[in-house]
């Protein structure tokens, strides 16, 4: 299906400069270097933030942010709820098609990975702005390169970090004693317990991340994954993955003939007791779900010793947003210790901070002390080993290959 994409790609790049002549870059009025001016301009603006809304807790947190930025900065924040970030990307594109270069509908997008790559490649983003945000320094990018790297691509200031995700497995301790510690052990366990594990249907991002995790563990050509997929022999590198999945699928839930649509749907299956083992991209999700009655109190989470894939998620501003100042003030507020600590609070959302907590002053650091009371919470230090995301082109290549192999079988 990407044949079309490669066919059009050369023409697209040839055409883009012409298309983009009218694209405003950094206009004088929204220069993030003059922060006072940005704050002044932002006052009274209404910022439309297109953000995935599949999780009530996330939506509640965004509501809370809206209340704060209204009070603090006089900005009205509207959460535009989307089921898939790509919807926002398509909208900005549709506006560009129609020549709407100044009065776009999207002011802020919650984004990372291939959506960011697509927008940046097509010059649909405003920037660079992130590194000029006053709170950005708290992330200490020199020590934490992941806050300026998105799926191996340098962000170059076109998106501002917001939160962290890492694959975390969770299981029902009443039905399972010692959970599998690597991908081979997972297969052995699935064979012994057919129908008790599954992964979300590709192209869901949680499901796609599972493919990447399995590929990293299975292939011996790891370095190939961190360069564009065209530079290596896709079939050879991924052969062990398909062999593995072919072996695994018969032992999955519904014998691998059907997959849950998303991570949260997989969580409901855990709640029903249909699955015994599952995984999420939000490490605190199992604990939060126990508190929400969705999962039984016997739920436990873990990260295998060899580590799992993790990444940072960001916010970006489209090139045609009419409220760039307001969007930047919000991006900056999202990086404030107050907003980051509230986001990490298990009672609110439980999404991990991107600030370098160890390098904060003592009082601020105290805000980030995690409540370890909940037994479904990861043990401290479990997230020490994070495997970096492969190049975004691998995500799309794996998704296409998976769909060609398993759809309509």
């Amino acid at each position: 299906m990407r044949a079309l994409s490669s066919r059009f790609a050369p023409r697209l790049t040839a055409l883009l400069p012409a298309l983009l002549l009218s694209t405003p870059g950094l206009s004088a009025t929204t220069d993030p270097a003059d922060w006072e001016a940005v704050l002044d301009e932002a006052r009274g603006q209404t910022v439309y933030w297109y953000a995935w809304a599949g999780e009530q807790r996330t939506n509640d947190y965004l509501d809370w942010v809206a209340g704060r930025v209204d009070k603090r900065f006089g900005i009205e924040l509207k959460h535009v709820k989307v089921g898939d970030t790509a919807e926002a990307v398509s909208r900005v594109l549709a506006e560009k098609q129609a020549g709407n270069d100044e009065a776009g509908n999207v002011d802020l997008i919650w984004i990372n990975g291939e959506n960011f790559a697509a927008m940046k490649e097509n010059d649909l983003l405003f920037g660079p702005f992130a590194e000029a945000l006053p709170n950005f320094a708290l992330t200490r990018p020199a020590h934490n390169p992941e806050v300026v790297t998105d799926f191996t691509l340098p962000t170059e200031g076109y998106e501002s970090p917001w939160g962290r995700a890492q694959i975390t497995y969770y299981y029902d301790s009443e039905a399972l004693d010692t959970p599998p510690q690597d991908i081979e052990a997972l297969l052995a366990w699935a064979r012994a317990n057919p129908g008790r594990f599954t992964y979300p249907r590709i192209p869901d991002f949680t499901g796609s991340t599972f493919l990447k995790q399995a590929l990293i563990e299975l292939t011996d050509q790891d370095e190939a994954l961190y360069a564009p997929v065209e530079e290596s022999d896709f079939a050879t590198v991924t052969a062990p993955l398909w062999e593995y999945l072919d072996a695994l699928h018969p032992y999955l839930w519904r014998s691998g003939r059907q997959f849950p649509a998303s991570g949260p749907e997989m969580r409901s299956l855990m709640g029903d007791g249909a699955l015994t083992l599952a995984f999420t991209f939000t490490p605190s999700e199992p604990a939060a779900a126990v508190a929400d009655y969705e999962l039984p109190p016997s739920t436990r989470s873990y990260v295998p010793e060899s580590g799992t894939l993790g990444n940072v998620h960001f916010v970006a501003i489209p090139y045609n947003s009419p409220h760039k100042a307001g969007a930047m003030v919000i991006a900056n507020y999202l990086l404030s210790p107050e907003a980051q600590a509230t986001k990490q609070d298990l009672d609110v959302w439980g999404d991990r901070t991107v600030l370098d907590v160890a390098r904060l002053d003592d009082d601020t650091r105290a805000l980030f002390d995690l409540d370890q009371q909940n037994p479904a919470m990861l043990p401290p230090g479990a997230l020490q080993k994070t495997l970096p995301e492969p190049h975004p082109s691998w995500m799309t290549a794996l998704q296409d290959a998976w769909q060609a192999r398993y759809i309509g079988q």
Binding site: R267, G273, A274
Partner: protein, 560 residues
């Protein structure tokens, strides 16, 4: 003067956006979309489309679910009408069915999914006592690859629609006398009805049947909830291509949209062929003159089938209600371990905005539609001309799949420079509300006894006074019912709201569908229930108000 413009205005309002939207899908389908570097016409998008994994199966499922769901719904309705004898049970069924019409498709689909899933209410009730299941069985029921659960979900929503359309058409046929005549020749009642009334009724409900086929073969939200997934139906695939971050997928999506148009057209043509076949078979069956055979089974099937469809829908809604207050609820407990209002308490603060938007959009689009329809019908009465020739144009928005023209329409709107506002969405909803209001009102309007008008005119009233003081009050009950239908249609719209509003305007329906992505059944329960109850308010008013206003005139209170 204004009146004479009404039919033209209606047709322009309905037809122009659809044609413009289709054009903007057709061009990229053949590779023309300058903003993305497609400057020459080519067949590349079609080749890509043909190479999509599982595309053949997607098309087959869309086609089959459209035809099968329609055939079953129509059969259920006709058999029920044949078996109906005006008994208390029949009146009770009729009363149950009308609120079902108002429940949005998505809510009904969620209800069905919660009911029949391996971990659903039915399995819970039977487990572990009858089945021995301690955990949900590993069965592929919801989202099965053959689309059976999708068909079931469509049937429970289309039965009420076809039934109400039939009930509206029946008075024209003088069905009682026809049946009485046949019975005097020795035919049993159900057989008599099928032989003498059904053949005359079908032409009158043919357009609604076509609308059902078009809807069922291209539906998005129900197919997302109940339809197969590997691959999904064509309409769902198109939606994913349109929202793919790889922008070149737009060409593929546009080709898919045109293919969807073809699939729906094929379904309609196939149905047309089946009509011919059925007419032949019926003719033979009628001519053979059998009077008794099958009466009992016809009678039983007629009642059982519709009771079943209605029962399933209501139990599903009940399931939603239970989930919306459920604490921890592990399989196979039939009821939740604890009951909590947490989910409602969490949702309440965020309900206000969407509720207000939903109400505003629904009321405005319905009022506009009602005014336009009344104007067109009044014009028809005064000029004495029947607008039936233009009627098929009215059906255009119901027969052209939404997904085929809405994306193109968004691009057109962008080019005109329209900002997504409530106004634009109201206009978008009008496309779908207007036809339904027209359908619901036209029969009652045309059937009104012309002698009332003549009488009023001879008493010296002006034509306008006749309209305001005689016709409108007499039509209050059907008018309110038509408005309630319009409100329900508007409340249930997902794609037009989402696309024309740029996602900025949230209604209860867009909220429910986007929360569904989270898969939290309790939250879905809350929102689907709100979505299901909202249109009911309209129907309660539609039934209650005439009774209140005309409490001293029984004839004007409308049907029970």
């Amino acid at each position: 003067m204004m009146l004479r413009l009404a039919p033209v205005l209606i047709v322009t309002l309905l037809v122009a956006p659809i044609l413009a939207g289709l054009a903007m899908a057709l061009l990229p389908a053949f590779g023309y979309l300058p903003a993305l570097g497609g400057e020459a016409f080519s067949l590349a998008p079609w080749r890509t489309l043909a190479a999509q994994p599982g595309i053949g199966r997607s098309v087959a499922i869309s086609l089959a679910s459209g035809l099968v769901a329609t055939a079953i719904s129509l059969a259920v309705v006709l058999l029920y009408l044949a078996a109906a004898t005006g008994s208390r049970l029949d009146r009770w069924i009729r009363r149950l069915v009308s609120p079902l019409l108002s429940i949005p498709h998505a809510a009904a689909a969620f209800g069905l999914a919660f009911l029949i899933a391996p971990s659903g209410l039915l399995a819970r009730l039977a487990s572990p006592a009858l089945t021995g299941w301690e955990r949900p069985p590993d069965l592929l029921i919801v989202q099965d690859p053959w689309g059976l659960s999708l068909i079931a979900g469509l049937v429970i929503k289309e039965v009420p629609f076809l039934l109400l359309m039939s009930l509206a058409a029946l008075p024209q046929l003088d069905a009682e006398r026809r049946v009485a005549m046949a019975r005097s020749l020795g035919y049993r009642p159900a057989i008599a009805w099928l032989k003498v009334v059904a053949p005359a009724l079908y032409p009158l409900i043919r357009l609604p049947v076509f609308a059902v086929i078009a809807y069922a073969s291209s539906v998005v939200d129900v197919a997302m909830i109940l339809g197969p997934t590997l691959p999904p139906t064509l309409a769902v695939s198109i939606l994913t291509w349109f929202s793919d971050p790889d922008l070149d997928q737009r060409f593929l999506a546009s080709a898919g949209a045109i293919l969807q148009l073809g699939v729906t057209a094929t379904a309609l043509l196939t149905w047309w062929g089946l009509e011919r076949l059925a007419a032949r078979l019926m003719a033979g069956w009628i001519a053979r003159g059998g009077r008794h055979r099958g009466e009992t089974s016809l009678h039983l099937t007629g009642k059982l089938a519709i009771l079943h469809a209605t029962g399933v829908a209501f139990t599903g809604i009940g399931g939603l209600a239970i989930y919306s207050v459920a604490g921890f609820w592990r399989f196979p407990d039939a009821l939740p371990k604890s009951v909590t209002l947490d989910h409602w308490a969490q949702a309440l603060p965020s309900l206000g905005g969407p509720l207000a938007s939903t109400a505003l959009i629904a009321l405005c689009s319905t009022l506009l539609a009602a005014v336009l329809v009344l104007a067109a019908l009044e014009n028809e009465q005064r000029t004495g001309r029947n607008a039936s020739k233009a009627l098929w144009l009215l059906y255009l928005p119901l027969i052209v799949p939404q997904i085929a023209f809405l994306f193109g329409l968004v691009v057109v709107m962008e080019q005109i420079g329209t900002r997504p506002t409530h106004g634009l969405i109201i206009f978008g909803h009008l496309l779908f509300v207007l036809p339904y209001v027209f359908l619901s009102l036209s029969e009652a309007y045309r059937r009104i006894d012309p002698r009332w008008t003549q009488l009023a005119l001879t008493l010296g009233a002006s034509r306008n006074a006749v309209f305001w003081r005689v016709r409108l009050p007499m039509l209050l009950a059907p008018l309110l019912t038509a408005c309630a239908v319009g409100l329900a249609v508007s409340i249930g719209q997902y794609l037009p709201t989402q696309l024309l509003g740029a996602g900025r305007v949230t209604t209860v329906t867009t909220e429910a569908v986007s929360l569904a992505a989270g898969g939290n059944r309790r939250v879905i329960g809350v929102w689907a229930l709100v979505q299901a109850c909202l249109p009911l308010v309209g129907f309660v008013i539609a039934i209650g108000l005439p009774k209140l206003l005309w409490s001293n005139r029984r004839g004007m209170q409308g049907a029970p």
